[in-house]
């Protein structure tokens, strides 16, 4: 399912049975267009991010705290500029924007940032 900027992930099969209803939303926001990139949504990577084996960065808890407070991290990743999945231990937190050469910028939702301020 594609809206103007967001692509939703829906279950194959019975979703067609909702046709004709006054639908507000269907499925899980998957990726959205953000400038020149496709940005994976936080909720999608929190649900499926543990399956990813590329464009993933594992951080220490203090680095997560830094990102949550809006700070950026200097880090060298073996990938091009673009969105990466942020993990710490066994938790997948969300996404961050990696910009060459070596900057990792936070892209956590506002609600999550405010909760940890």
């Amino acid at each position: 399912m594609i809206s103007s900027r967001v692509i939703y992930l829906v279950r194959k099969g019975r979703v067609a049975e909702s046709a004709g209803l006054k639908v507000i939303r269907c499925g899980l926001p998957f990726v959205r267009r953000a400038g020149i990139y496709l940005k994976p949504t936080t909720v999608m990577v929190q649900r499926f991010g543990d399956l990813a084996d590329k464009n993933v960065v594992d951080l220490e808890p203090f680095d997560i705290r830094r990102l949550l407070h809006g700070g950026e991290i200097v880090i060298d990743l073996e990938t091009d500029s673009g969105y990466v999945i942020v993990r710490s231990g066994r938790n997948t937190w969300g996404v961050a924007l990696y910009l060459l050469p070596g900057r990792l910028l936070p892209r956590f939702p506002k609600g999550m940032r405010q909760a940890f301020e």
């Binding site: 019975r14 979703v15 909702s18 507000i24 269907c26 899980l28 929190q46 938790n91």
Partner: protein, 328 residues
């Protein structure tokens, strides 16, 4: 006698007008209609004493996003030691627990909810792959619980009539990472009968007196304003829910009120209008059978198969659950 501090006076004044004050052995003021419930609530003094306590915070583990092991290790890292309950995946956080301030909440690992709120889903027992309707779904506790029980398969139509409440529903479905849910916006009693469902849940809007608490200074902490037409709305909802069931399908009608006029009377109305059958089920926590009489009014004899949950027996919100079958 003033029930509340400034800022909430108009609402509580309205409550006072309707109040019938009953003085029990502990000089506790119990407003109407709760005072009438003395007729059927077992161990009344324990009930009144329990009304003075804060209800504990419970939460459900979202097994769609992480294993139990990961959730517990994350909670442990925050110094949280939840207590197990008799309900699967439901845990007690403790009286002062703030579930929404935890990392686990923001990662979508937990959903704060009352212990009794899990009961309608346990009674309905949706299966993977089924087509399920939650007619009054916001804020989404039961819809997301069903998605979890169904392994995020099949389809759940999560409906609510209030746009404001849909925001909370959308947010919770998203936060818990659910893909099988379609959110719709209809008045429940007008939901189009253009398809039929394997299971339907009606967690009906109600007066909410199962949540009622007395403050330490006899303040009313929770008392909804009188909603004169609630039983009429509830009767329309239960009838529409039944009409949306496929023959052989199962529905659950639930409320968080102890008021028989919003519970057994509504169920009896359905059984009079439609060929539904009440089903027996065994809840995992302490329960009492439904009523067949209240204040001289008689209800359908099978209402004993309904289940009532009293706050002082379960240490959570008072609840009512009826499981109904549509014969083939």
């Amino acid at each position: 006698m003033y029930f509340a501090k400034a800022g909430n006076q108009q609402e509580t004044f309205s409550a006072c007008i309707h109040a019938v004050l009953l003085k029990d052995s502990q000089s506790t003021m119990i407003p109407s209609p709760l005072a009438d419930y003395m007729e059927f609530i077992p161990d009344w003094d324990a009930y009144v004493s329990h009304l003075r306590l804060s209800l504990p915070v419970y939460f459900r583990i979202n097994t769609l996003k992480a294993s139990r092991e990961v959730v517990f290790s994350t909670l442990d890292s925050e110094g949280i030691r939840p207590e197990a309950t008799a309900v699967k995946d439901l845990f007690k956080l403790g009286a002062t627990g703030q579930a929404r301030a935890t990392v686990s909440y923001h990662l979508g690992y937990i959903y704060p909810q009352a212990l009794s709120s899990a009961l309608p889903v346990i009674a309905l027992a949706p299966r993977p792959g089924e087509m399920v309707l939650d007619l009054c779904a916001a804020p989404g506790g039961k819809a997301t619980h069903m998605a979890q029980v169904m392994g995020d398969s099949g389809i759940i139509i999560a409906n609510d009539r209030k746009l404001g409440r849909l925001t909370a529903l959308l947010s919770n479905v998203k936060r818990l990472g659910i893909t099988n849910t379609v959110v719709t916006h209809y008045r429940g009693e007008h939901f189009p009968v253009t398809r039929s469902f394997d299971r339907v849940l009606v967690d009906a809007p109600c007066s909410g007196d199962g949540k009622f608490r007395l403050g330490k200074d006899d303040e009313i902490l929770h008392l909804k304003k009188g909603r004169t037409f609630l039983p009429a709305i509830q009767k329309a909802l239960i009838q529409r829910a039944f009409d949306l069931l496929r023959p052989g399908g199962t529905m659950v009608y639930s409320t968080c009120t102890l008021n028989p006029q919003e519970n057994e009377e509504v169920v009896s109305h359905l059984l009079k209008k439609r060929d539904g059958r009440l089903l027996s089920w065994v809840p995992p926590i302490d329960w009492e059978p439904g009523l067949t009489t209240f204040k001289g009014r008689g209800y359908h004899e099978s209402c004993v198969l309904c289940r009532r949950f009293y706050p002082h027996k379960i240490d959570s919100v008072g609840f009512f659950v009826a499981k109904i079958f549509r014969p083939i």
